[in-house]
Subunit: 230 residues, 2 copies
DNA sequence: AATACATTCCAATAAACCTTAGAATGTGCG
DNA sequence: CGCACATTCTAAGGTTTATTGGAATGTATT
């Protein structure tokens, strides 16, 4: 039966994508790459895995066409091969979050008050940020901020917060965000700020989650509206 | 570092879902299950794989919580554990379709004229079907039709078409659909009908694709509006 | 109680995958 | 040119996964 063979071929091709997302390390790489393009070494240190291993995993991702690479001097810069890959990652994560109790448990354990935004709270946050009623800070490394950030957010990488406290207005509410729900930088930042007497909270949204809701993202000072889903 | 360990835990959980979709056979099972719940034996014969192997794959899917099972007499009926699983499958397929040239090639080889619908052509098809200007036929097995079908479609399983030709009006345009782009039943049905002198074409949409566009689905004569994405 | 049937469990083998270490490639810089 | 550096390739180990056959479970039927 020729239909059987060609059908098998089709599912096999989709399974190439499936296999690519079947490893925790590769998922972490996808998560990191949704913050913007990165060199192999950067990925390795961000994900805390050996460079050689990162390279091997990137090869798998590249063969499944989820990422693309370009050379820049001595570095090789990897990027997701489309915004649909971000959606796929978010989709996988949301399925896992919805159906795997273990994941929800681990998330709760990790973060004391996991504030998950709704459509309304996002809209109101955007409005308050526009009015200057709250200060939104992006605590990721600055390169990631430059690649794209929430509207009206200012960059204040976690590592620099302590010595840049003077930049923050004492009375105002501060909202910190980072790479998304699996990232703990905003948690840490908010904790630190509260210790220092600020009124700070964190949100679990990152740029990808925000954009997936159809909300605008800024890059290099220019406002860009990200397409909703793929 | 405790953050590292808990982070690993999170990605590992999502990877459970990734691993579940890393096999062509399991993807085919998900595709079949998005047509409605099915017993193990049915899945085995639909996917042309051994029952024991189907059972093993279903176990993996169940452990990743993508499917659920219930007993009904001697049979065990499997179903997707939510409509977000259908979205995940569509998402994976669309990523593969967009990025893997091999898949597009295989699809083109398989089907002479792969008519892919757009938002407009879907709306116009729906309208014409409502008006009775075209006859939409669902050529899947009748159980699947009963579980949910396109609006105004009538059930005419591929196996029965030949002896039920009299039910079809000779002049009118006939539009056949089946399980989606990876399914060849509508292709075959349209070919057969054209041979018999009818004006017939197929569309690649199945119920899942149609519903994912936010369009209504009927089941048991009752119109149901499926939620868009998860 | 005995049989038929659908499905799962168990064990075994081969193939695929992850990871690490060491060698190789290719680029920029002195 | 030769050295330093980022990255990839190759090889080898240990582990996991896919598949198959045979035994076991649990439900309906007689």
């Amino acid at each position: 039966m020729k239909t059987r063979k060609s059908k098998d071929l089709l599912f096999e091709q989709v399974a190439r994508v499936g296999k690519a997302v079947a490893s925790p390390k590769r998922l972490e790489l996808l998560d990191l790459l949704s913050q913007g393009e990165k060199a192999v070494e950067t990925l390795a240190s961000d994900a805390a895995i050996d460079v050689k291993l990162v390279s091997a995993h990137l090869k798998v991702l590249k063969e499944a066409r989820l990422v693309e690479a370009r050379r820049e001097g001595r570095f090789i810069i990897y990027r997701l091969s489309g915004s649909d890959i971000v959606s796929l990652w978010l989709n996988l994560r949301s399925v896992a979050e919805k159906h795997l109790a273990e994941l929800r448990l681990a998330l709760d354990l990790m973060s004391a008050a996991p504030e998950r935004l709704t459509a309304e709270s996002r809209a109101s946050l955007l409005e308050k940020a526009r009015q200057g009623e709250v200060i939104v800070i992006d605590v990721r490394p600055e390169v990631e901020y430059l690649a794209g950030h929430l509207p009206f957010a200012r960059s204040m990488p976690l590592a620099e917060i302590e010595r840049r406290l003077a930049e923050l207005p004492p009375g105002k509410e501060i909202v910190a965000y980072c790479r998304g729900p699996f990232c703990l930088m905003s948690e840490e930042a908010a904790g630190l700020l509260r210790e220092k007497g600020f009124r700070a909270r964190k949100i679990t949204d990152g740029v990808a989650e925000w954009a997936a809701e159809g909300l605008p993202i800024e890059a290099y000072g220019t406002r860009i509206r990200h397409a909703r889903q793929q």
